[in-house]
Symmetry: C2
Subunit: 178 residues, 2 copies
């Protein structure tokens, strides 16, 4: 951030009075600009004994497999975001079961929230950001071609938890605190 | 947003190619500025049969009672944010038990995540944004002087769930989708 998005003046980085962290401050219109983590919402869609993965058509990690997930938009809930991303990336309509993983990814300032979801039908396809979508059983998961650590974590949790048919919420922290 | 925070040029609101929502676009440096919901992290601190509330020293809702919570910062986890806010607002060190409420507040683009927390000792006080902090039993809760709907929801859930000694994660959506 170099300029004030409100008035267009240059901003400077300083700790505002009463605060304890440096912020981008505009000396012209006195706006303080706060930068906060973004929420990534998505699903782990299940059909029978298989899970739905999408092969990424975009960077980063183009060509690798992921779960349908993306940045939550203003004006929607976390659940709506998870359903929308699943619709956009995998052309699939799913039913949310429960919030399954909450991962704080410190070095990129993200909170990823993945919902366990049921696919009523094996209807899916490749959205614009997806090369192909496919259902995988546990033995078929392409563990070496998964796009993100959050995805391999969620899949490991799922196949582990499935043995007990209990899917408690999992909290994970990735990346060193700065 | 009127100006590009990267180069200082005027931005215009338009739907970028391949997108389906209007974004602030800079025609000079070609940055697309995305606005996303912010996470509010906090605690419902419990000591014995009482919960800890803080009376707000700042607007909005100055003078009303709330749970310690605030905007999650870059570089921290949701848990770290909840603990930090409890330390800052109530001068209390708590132990997180579990994520208890996830509330999407659509009209203000926030996701509030409150953790159920244990106070090992009844040590607390008023931080800079707090007029006073105090422990309340169920019959003492100032229901008519609570600052936010998310707070009264969390407290209602808590006293309801306490009867069964089971505290499942609660998902709530507030505000109309636009």
């Amino acid at each position: 951030m170099n300029y004030c998005s409100h008035c267009g003046s240059s901003v400077r980085l300083a700790v505002p009075e009463g605060d304890n962290r440096p912020r981008h401050i505009c000396d012209n219109c006195h706006t303080i600009h706060y930068l906060n983590p973004k929420v990534v919402a998505g699903c782990l869609p299940v059909y029978g004994d298989k899970v739905l993965l999408c092969r990424r058509a975009i960077e980063p990690r183009k060509g690798l497999w992921t779960l349908p997930a993306g940045f939550m938009e203003n004006g929607e809930s976390t659940e709506q975001g998870a359903l929308r991303e699943t619709r956009e990336e995998a052309l699939a309509e799913v039913e949310l079961i429960s919030l399954y993983t909450v991962t704080s990814i410190l070095h990129v300032n993200q909170v990823q929230m993945l919902y366990l979801a049921r696919m009523p039908q094996p209807d899916f396809g490749a959205g614009e950001e997806t090369l192909e979508a496919a259902l995988f059983s546990e033995t078929e998961i392409p563990w070496d071609e998964l796009a993100f650590e959050t995805i391999s974590n969620a899949l490991r949790f799922y196949f582990e938890d499935r043995k007990q048919d209990q899917f408690p919420l999992r909290h994970v922290e990735i990346g060193a605190n700065r």
